[in-house]
C-alpha cells in the first residue's frame, strides 16, 4: 500500500460553524420530528379518532342527560370517572403505537436514517429527540380529549372538579411515558415497521391483560411485572375509598373454605407508579442500547 503525504493549504470551510451540544441536537431532532408528525396522516387520523370519541360522548350526554353518567343528583366524581372509563388509556395505547411504533424501525426500513446518522450526532440524541417528539405529539392528542372533558364538566358541574381527576391525568401521563418507552424498545428491536407496530399493539391492547388474568387466576401471583396492572391506577383512583390491594372471592358449594376461589389484585398507587416508571426506565435504557448497537446494513 502506498501512502501519500502532501502539504496543502487548509480548506476554507466551516467558517462560523459551531456544532450544537448533544442536548441542543436533541431539541433539533424533536423540532423536526414534530414538524413531520404534524404533516403526517397518522397524526391527523389519531386527532380525528380522539375528537370523534370525545364528541360522541358529548352528544350522548347531551341527549341522555348528564345524570346518565353522573347519577342524580349530579356527582362530579362519577361524571369524570365516567368520562375517564371510556377512552384515555386507549388513547395512550394508540399514541404510543402511532408515534412510537415505528419511530426507530422506520428509520431503517424507509432508509430515512441514512440521511441523519452520517452526521456528527450521537444516536442517543436521535433516540431521545424522537421520544420527546412522540411525547409532545401525544400530549396534544391527550390535551384535546382533556379539553373536551373539562369543557363538558364545566358546563354540567361548574368548577367542581374532583382532585381524583387531576391525579388520573398525572397517572395517564406516567402511563403515556411508560407506553412510549415500551413501544420505542420494540421499535429499536425490529427493522420492520409492521412488526414493531403489530407486536406493540397486540401487547398493549391484549397481551398484558391476558397475562394479568392468567398469572392472577392460575398462578395466584400478583402481576407486579405487568404494565396494564400498574396502569390500573388510572381508573381505580376514581373509586373512593381506593380499592383494597387484594380481594379473595369464594363461590360455589362448600363455603367456609371448601368452594372455588379467585383472588383479585389491585395495584396500590405507589405500586402502580413504580411499575409504570420502572417500565419507562428499563425499556428506555434497553431501547437506547439496542439502537446504539443496531447496524444500518
Amino acid at each position: 500500500m502506498q501512502q501519500q503525504k502532501e502539504s496543502i493549504p487548509p480548506a476554507a470551510s466551516l467558517e462560523g460553524n459551531k456544532l450544537p451540544t448533544s442536548i441542543g441536537q436533541v431539541g433539533i431532532i424533536a423540532k423536526y420530528e414534530i414538524l413531520n408528525y404534524f404533516r403526517s396522516r397518522r397524526f391527523l387520523i389519531l386527532l380525528a379518532i380522539t375528537l370523534i370519541i370525545a364528541l360522541a360522548l358529548t352528544v350522548a350526554i347531551a341527549y341522555y342527560g348528564a345524570s346518565s353518567l353522573a347519577g342524580s343528583p349530579l356527582n362530579a366524581l362519577g361524571f369524570y370517572a365516567g368520562w375517564y372509563s371510556f377512552a384515555p388509556t386507549l388513547i395512550v395505547v394508540f399514541c404510543s403505537v402511532f408515534f412510537g411504533g415505528d419511530a426507530i424501525s422506520g428509520e431503517f426500513q424507509n432508509k430515512t436514517g441514512y440521511f441523519l446518522v452520517g452526521n456528527p450526532i450521537r444516536r442517543s440524541s436521535i433516540y431521545i429527540g424522537k421520544w420527546i417528539a412522540a411525547f409532545l405529539a401525544s400530549l396534544i392528542i391527550m390535551g384535546v380529549y382533556t379539553a373536551v372533558t373539562v369543557v363538558n364538566g364545566l358546563y354540567y358541574l361548574g368548577t367542581n372538579i374532583p382532585s381524583q381527576y387531576g391525579e388520573a391525568l398525572v397517572f395517564t401521563l406516567v402511563y403515556l411515558i411508560a407506553g412510549l418507552g415500551f413501544t420505542f424498545l420494540f421499535s429499536s428491536l425490529f427493522k420492520s415497521s409492521s412488526y414493531s407496530i403489530l407486536v406493540t399493539i397486540i401487547l398493549l391492547l391484549f397481551g398484558f391483560s391476558i397475562i394479568d388474568t392468567l398469572v392472577t387466576n392460575l398462578a395466584h401471583v400478583e402481576p407486579w411485572f405487568s404494565l396494564s396492572y400498574g396502569s390500573g391506577i388510572v381508573s381505580n383512583v376514581f373509586t373512593v375509598p381506593y380499592p383494597p390491594h387484594q380481594t379473595s372471592l369464594t363461590f360455589g358449594p362448600g363455603g367456609g373454605g371448601g368452594g372455588a376461589g379467585l383472588v383479585q389484585y389491585i395495584a396500590t398507587i405507589p405500586e402502580g407508579l413504580m411499575i409504570m416508571l420502572g417500565y419507562f426506565v428499563v425499556t428506555s435504557i434497553l431501547g437506547l442500547l439496542l439502537f446504539e448497537r443496531k447496524e444500518f446494513n
Partner: protein, 311 residues
C-alpha cells in the same frame, strides 16, 4: 482518513479483512471493487453506521466510533441513497441538517440556496420531497453532504439514480471541490467516472485492499500486461489509413485500434516519459491531433486484471 486493520465479519462471512488505508490531502480518491467487495462496508464504518469487528476507522486522528461528533464534524457523507421525510421540502430537509451541523442562523439560508443551486435543485426547494424522483432525491442528498462545506466528503456511489446529465453535474461538483482543497473519497462502479475525476484509486476485493496509488501508476502497473499503456487520441478530421499508418510507426507504439472515425486507441510501451514524447511526436506530425488522454478502458483493463487475479 485512516483505516487501521479494519475488519468486519457477518457471522462466518468476512466483509472486510484487515484493511489499512491512509488518505491525506486535497484530492479525489476513487474506491473501486466489485459488488460485495467491502466498499460500502468500509464507508459505513467510517460514518458509524456499522461497527468494525476489529480495527479502527479514524478521521483527523479521531476514532469515529469512539467520538463520532468530533470525527464527523468536518466530514460530509452520502451513503447509499438515503430517503428524506416525504413531507419535507428540500429547504426544510437541508435546514434540518444545517441546524444539526451548527451552521449559523444568519448563513443558513444562503448556504442552503447555494447547495441547492450547486445540485440544480433551487427551483424545487419548496416542493415536497415525497413527489421527487430518485435522481432528484439523490441531488438533495448530495447537497446535504456539501452543506457544511466539509474538508472531507465521503460519497458512496453518488451518481446512483442520476441521469447522464446529473452524472456529469456530479462529476463537475467533485472537480470543483478538489479545486477548493477538499478530500473526496468516493466509491463507484463507473470506471469512466473515476478516470475522469479521481486522482488516486483504491481497489478492494473480498474485503482486502488490492492497490492504492495514483490513477496513472495503477493503470501503468496493472493494465494490459503491465508494461504497456493505452491512450485515446482524437483527431480533427476523419482518420484514414495514412494517419493510422503514421501513428502506428511512432516510437513506442505497439498497436493502434480505430475506435470510430475520429478516435484511435494507442497501446504503447513505457511510462510517462514515453507518453510525453509520443504526444510531442504526434503533434509534430501535423495530422490533426486534438486530444490525447488515458483511455477510459485502461482503468477497466486494470480493474479486470486485478479483480480477475483475486477470483
Amino acid at each position: 482518513m485512516e483505516a487501521q486493520n479494519l475488519s468486519k465479519n457477518y457471522g462466518s462471512f468476512t466483509a472486510l479483512s484487515d484493511l489499512n488505508l491512509k488518505i491525506e490531502g486535497a484530492k479525489c480518491v476513487g474506491f473501486l471493487g466489485p459488488n460485495g467487495a467491502g466498499k460500502t462496508t468500509t464507508l459505513k464504518i467510517f460514518t458509524d453506521m456499522i461497527r468494525a469487528t476489529k480495527g479502527k476507522a479514524m478521521i483527523n486522528d479521531i476514532t469515529v466510533h469512539e467520538n463520532k461528533r468530533a470525527a464527523l464534524e468536518h466530514c460530509g457523507t452520502l451513503i447509499e441513497s438515503p430517503e428524506i421525510y416525504p413531507s419535507f421540502t428540500p429547504k426544510e430537509a437541508l435546514s434540518f441538517i444545517a441546524e444539526i451541523r451548527g451552521i449559523p442562523r444568519a448563513e443558513r439560508s444562503k448556504r442552503i440556496d447555494n447547495a441547492l443551486a450547486e445540485v440544480k435543485m433551487e427551483e424545487w426547494k419548496d416542493k415536497k420531497v415525497g413527489k421527487f424522483s430518485k435522481g432528484m432525491k439523490q441531488r438533495i442528498n448530495i447537497a446535504s453532504a456539501l452543506l457544511s462545506e466539509p474538508d472531507l466528503i465521503i460519497l458512496d456511489e453518488p451518481t446512483t439514480g442520476l441521469d447522464p446529465r446529473g452524472m456529469a453535474e456530479v462529476r463537475d461538483i467533485v472537480k470543483s471541490l478538489k479545486k477548493r482543497n477538499r478530500l473526496i473519497f468516493m466509491s463507484s462502479h463507473l470506471l469512466p467516472e473515476v478516470s475522469d475525476v479521481c486522482d488516486e484509486v483504491a481497489m478492494i476485493d473480498h474485503g482486502k485492499l488490492l492497490v492504492y496509488d495514483t490513477l496513472s501508476n495503477v493503470i501503468s502497473r496493472f493494465s494490459g500486461d503491465g508494461s504497456s499503456t493505452i491512450i485515446e487520441a482524437g483527431f480533427s478530421k476523419p482518420i484514414d489509413d495514412r494517419i493510422t499508418g503514421i501513428v502506428s510507426k511512432a516510437q513506442g507504439v505497439i498497436s493502434v485500434e480505430k475506435m470510430d472515425s475520429r478516435n484511435l486507441k494507442l497501446k504503447f510501451a513505457g511510462g510517462m516519459e514515453v507518453q510525453e514524447r509520443l504526444l510531442e511526436d504526434l503533434v509534430s506530425m501535423r495530422i490533426g491531433i486534438i486530444s490525447f488522454r488515458a483511455s477510459g478502458s485502461a482503468l477497466e483493463d486494470t480493474y479486470l486484471n486485478l479483480i480477475k487475479d483475486t477470483l
